[in-house]
């Protein structure tokens, strides 16, 4: 990584906190609402994809809770984790609402998540675990976008993808890794 692009961790986190978009706001901008839902060509298929995304968001919320309560995160990383968890809650709330708008039943969070907590013994472990989930989320949304019959849903999913990618980059930065290692995500 070129030296000129290296940002001190504390100032990087402060900047990230100010510039990270509200997922709810971008989804509203995407026009993801009841009127569009009624226009969907195959609402059952779209509900299926939405529920897959909702399940992953619910798990991410639980994972950040584990991280926040681990006692391993120091400031400003802890605040950032709580902020990212808040984004996932916004994603989940809107996905659940959209499933209902499409006449579907939103999936419920699992009663228990089997996280590898025995492997989380340091702040870096927690960050690496979260980064892996965020990277997976980017790929999951990338794999969901082409499946939506309703184009506004694809647009909304792409906006969530962008948010997850920002999370992934910030977590990599916190780990001292190149925050944007590739030109394309997959």
């Amino acid at each position: 990584m070129p030296e000129s692009t290296i940002v001190p961790r504390r100032s990087f986190f402060a900047a990230a906190g100010k510039t990270t978009l509200s997922a709810g706001a971008v989804l509203l901008l995407a026009g993801c609402g009841t009127r569009q839902a009624a226009m969907a060509a195959d609402p059952a298929a779209d509900v299926n994809v939405l529920n897959a995304a909702l399940g992953a968001e619910q798990e991410a919320i639980a994972a950040y809770q584990v991280g926040a309560e681990s006692g391993l995160l120091t400031q400003p990383v802890l605040d950032l984790a709580v902020q990212f968890q808040g984004h996932h809650k916004e994603h989940a709330d809107l996905l659940a609402k959209t499933v209902r708008d499409f006449g579907g039943q939103p999936v419920e969070p699992l009663p228990r998540y089997d996280f590898p907590t025995e492997q989380l013994t340091s702040e870096a472990d927690v960050l690496r675990f979260a980064a892996g989930l965020e990277k997976g989320a980017v790929s999951a949304y990338l794999g969901a976008v082409p499946l939506f019959h309703e184009r506004e849903l694809a647009k909304a999913a792409a906006s969530i993808l962008g948010d997850e990618a920002m999370h992934w980059a910030v977590l990599r930065q916190a780990l001292g890794e190149n925050p944007v290692p590739v030109a394309f995500v997959s």
Binding site: A45, N48, V49, L50, N51, A52, A53, G55, A56, Q58, E59, L110, Y113, D114, F115, P116, G132, L133, K135, G136, A137, S139, A140, G143, A144, V145, P146, L147, S186
Partner: protein, 122 residues
């Protein structure tokens, strides 16, 4: 002529034959799956240890879609290649809302990684 055309169309509908896979490259491809899956643990998707030779829908205690549970699929290199190409086309109604891994080499690498993972510890 019509028979030849039909045969060509049928062949086009099948996934391309996967070349030999590389499990090391497959480990990097598998990172895409980790929003929902892991090798050792059931998450929003089922665990992948012991996948080869297992009946689809066969992880005890995991709640599958009826479509996958009744698909009759047994996971092999060939069935995984078909499923991973386009999961919703291979098993309509599966809850795996993912477009698929379109590159034959990437699928082969991913399958090699899954095969190398071996059986589950528990």
């Amino acid at each position: 002529m019509i028979l030849l055309l039909s045969a060509s169309l049928a062949a086009a509908a099948q996934p391309a034959a996967a070349p030999g896979g590389d499990a090391v490259r497959g480990a990097a491809i598998y990172e895409r799956c980790q929003a929902c899956h892991s090798l050792e643990r059931n998450r929003t998707g089922p665990k992948h240890c012991g996948l080869i030779g297992r009946r689809a829908g066969g992880v005890a205690g995991f709640s599958y879609s009826p479509a996958l549970e009744h698909s009759g699929i047994v996971w092999s290199t060939e069935s995984l290649d078909r499923f991973l190409t386009a999961p919703l086309a291979a098993v309509p109604g599966t809850r795996m809302g993912y477009a698929g891994v379109k590159d034959p080499q990437e699928r082969a690498d991913l399958i090699a990684f899954l095969a190398a993972a071996g059986p589950c510890d528990n």
